[in-house]
């Protein structure tokens, strides 16, 4: 029996994960504890949490597993310098000192930082390849005995896209594409060019795409990326600037796409909608070809996905829709946070092998791998702060919340263990009634304080999913986009003629708050065995309304990490127009709460996302 603490750190969205004999005991991102969104710092708080959850000290572990190979990454940095000289001095000056000082010895830095936690002697640190960690996180916890595995991201060491064959308890490498040829970086370049933040604004670009027409797609195919029939591709790096510095795109890119980039927060124009639609279309085409190659090379009928591009749930949905594979499973923490989990799974495999596929289940526990707060702890918090509340039995709470949702109230839903990965999956969520046409803009502007174009996602009873969505398989982690069934669609008057954001205002279905302009939705299916509490709430809502669907969005405001503790949840509840808060077994109503005062404007403190 072996156990390991997995760490991903120093780039984007650091995380820790603890695996004991192949079982995932705990996993969490540092941002939730530090309250710094996508915190790249060493995940000291997340690591300490994982050890507490497991009830162990560092001494008891066999390995610390680091999610990439710093030396190999350093090679890539050096070769990039040699490849770009004499034009890359600015990057050289910026990155070389930190690489020489500590980054090439990141594994030693991890050991040092763990030692400083004072939680026992640090076991040996093993490093895996970045894509090996992604591949392990995609396949090992998946519900399949064997599968094709595809990892697509920005870049780790050299690999940017990699193909693997998952069998029993191993992932075997087959082929890869290397830096600077990267689908993740292509998408990020457009994210940057459209005025959004690289590494977090990609979601917004994907959300914009359905409002535009892909009129730049052929230009992208002709000039920016050469894609072979087998899905392998190369970028023409003359159009990109990421090899030379901090920004993604330069003048050549501007000349190709009608002028300078959109400044952040500037008004969105037709061009950005069309750019988003174009790069999204090309991304989907490449992902489909990669998936077909994965199927041919492995002969498998199931696909596992990870890497940041696997968070593109529209592209994932296309792979399912086109029937390239019989079934697809996406690691919920598909980004680099999930690398911590993959590395830990590689370092601490189950002595008896992977047994969960035989039971037809994945090993992610619904991604509920973070901290939980029992009712005693919540009671103490409420009493300490004199917060008016009602304590209810679980069935009663569920019925009461369902009734409030049916009346159009917005409810903060804080239950169970916190989710691992970027999405709230019904444990740290804000819920609403999807039948209400005004709900999308109410939730965007009064609760999340974000752009009105951003759609919300539905959660649906797994047994009723097919009645609403053309999905054909489970989607427990909200990483597949599916079209609404014809029966649920409604055509609004004037919808055909509307352009751009005007198309938002049309009612398009029986559940307009979660229906995108193209009749698609980012679905999470809720299974009774996997997620009993959330399943009960949906069933209660259905009993009242006939509708087995709710709006689910993450419990936070724009730019802030998802809430982790009852205190975070209460703060978010009071800062926004959320009507009720279900904290474990307690229900709080906004009208009963003491007045909320804060010094200064809290919105100033939260950076733009």
């Amino acid at each position: 029996m072996t156990s390991a603490l997995g760490i991903s750190a120093f780039y984007h969205d650091s995380a820790a994960a603890l695996v004991d004999d192949g079982t995932i005991v705990a996993a969490a991102q540092e941002e939730r504890f530090s309250r710094r969104r996508h915190d790249p710092a060493f995940p000291a708080l997340a690591a300490a949490y994982c050890l507490t959850e497991a009830g162990t000290k560092l001494d008891d572990l066999d390995h610390v597993a680091y999610y990439e190979d710093p030396r190999r990454k350093f090679h890539r940095v050096l070769w990039t310098q040699i490849g770009t000289a004499p034009r890359g001095y600015r990057t050289f000056r910026r990155v070389l000192p930190e690489w020489l000082a500590w980054k090439r010895r990141a594994a030693e830095t991890v050991a040092d930082r763990l030692r400083a936690l004072d939680l026992g002697a640090v076991p040996p640190v093993v490093c895996y390849q970045h894509h090996e960690s992604h591949a392990a996180s995609a396949f090992l916890p998946s519900p399949y005995e064997s599968a094709a595995v595809l990892c697509v991201d920005g870049v780790g060491e050299w690999a940017t896209t990699s193909l693997w064959h998952g069998r029993e308890d191993r992932v075997e490498p087959l082929a890869e594409l290397r830096f600077p040829h990267s689908l993740g970086l292509l998408y990020s370049a457009f994210t940057y060019f459209c005025g959004f933040k690289v590494d977090s604004g990609e979601y917004k670009l994907m959300g914009l795409a359905p409002y535009g027409t892909p009129r730049y797609a052929s230009l992208i195919r002709e000039r920016l990326v050469d894609v072979k029939p087998d899905g392998s591709f190369r970028l023409d790096t003359r159009y990109f600037a990421f090899l030379l510095g901090r920004v993604m795109t330069g003048r050549a890119f501007e000349e190709l796409f009608d002028g300078p980039r959109r400044e952040p927060e500037a008004p969105l124009t037709e061009r950005e909608f069309d750019l988003a639609a174009s790069v999204q279309l090309v991304t989907e085409e490449i992902m489909l070809r990669l998936a077909r190659t994965a199927r041919e090379r492995t002969g498998e009928s199931r696909l596992c996905l990870a890497g940041g591009v696997a968070l593109n749930c529209v592209a994932n949905g296309r792979i399912v829709e086109e029937g390239v594979f019989d079934e697809v499973w996406v690691q919920p923490a598909a980004g680099d946070a999930g690398g911590a989990l993959g590395a830990a799974l590689l370092a601490a495999p189950a002595a008896a092998g992977r047994t969960h596929p035989a039971r037809g289940r994945d090993a992610m526990r619904g991604a509920r791998l973070g901290p939980a707060f029992d009712d005693d702890a919540i009671q103490r918090y409420l009493d300490d702060h004199d917060l008016p509340h009602t304590r209810l039995a679980p069935e009663e709470l569920s019925r009461k919340v369902a009734a409030e949702l049916a009346e159009g109230r917005v409810v903060g839903w804080f239950q169970d263990r916190m989710e691992f990965g970027p999405r709230a999956l019904g444990c740290r969520s804000i819920l609403g009634d999807p039948r209400d046409p005004a709900m999308q803009s109410v939730m965007n502007q009064k609760i999340k304080f974000r752009e009105s174009f951003r759609p919300f996602a539905p959660i649906v009873l797994a047994e009723d999913a097919e009645e609403y969505f053309r999905l054909g398989q489970p989607s427990p982690y909200m990483l597949l986009v599916a079209r609404l069934t014809e029966a649920q669609r409604r055509t609004a008057p004037g919808e055909q003629d509307a352009r751009g954001l005007d198309r938002l205002r049309a009612t398009r279905s029986t559940i307009p708050a979660v229906t995108h302009v193209d009749h698609s939705a980012r679905v999470q299916t809720v299974d009774r065995a996997d997620h009993p509490v959330l399943h009960r709430l949906l069933a209660d809502f259905k009993a009242l309304t006939g509708c087995p669907v709710l709006v689910n969005t993450s419990f936070n405001v724009r730019g802030e990490p998802i809430v982790a503790t009852p205190e975070d949840a209460y703060r978010c509840f009071m800062r926004t127009r959320i009507d009720s808060l279900a904290l474990g077994g307690f229900l709080l109503h906004k009208a009963d709460q003491p007045e909320w005062t804060e010094s200064g404007d809290w919105r100033e403190e939260i950076p733009l996302d």
Partner: protein, 59 residues
């Protein structure tokens, strides 16, 4: 000490870049572009094999 180090680095970095990185870059690129930057329209695939026996896993 940190100030001294920063000053030394400020002097050393341009020298290092001019005397090592730039010549290394020019010579290397005469032989082969280490980043394989240009698309090769004639190639049928860009996949690099990493499977058993490919021996190209570590560059």
């Amino acid at each position: 000490m940190p100030t001294l180090r920063r000053a030394a680095a400020g002097l050393l970095l341009p020298v290092l870049y001019a005397l090592v990185v730039v010549p290394a870059g020019l010579v290397t690129r005469l032989l082969r572009d280490p980043l394989r930057r240009r698309p090769d329209r004639a190639a049928s695939s860009y996949w690099i094999s990493t499977g058993q026996g490919s021996g190209d896993r570590h560059r």
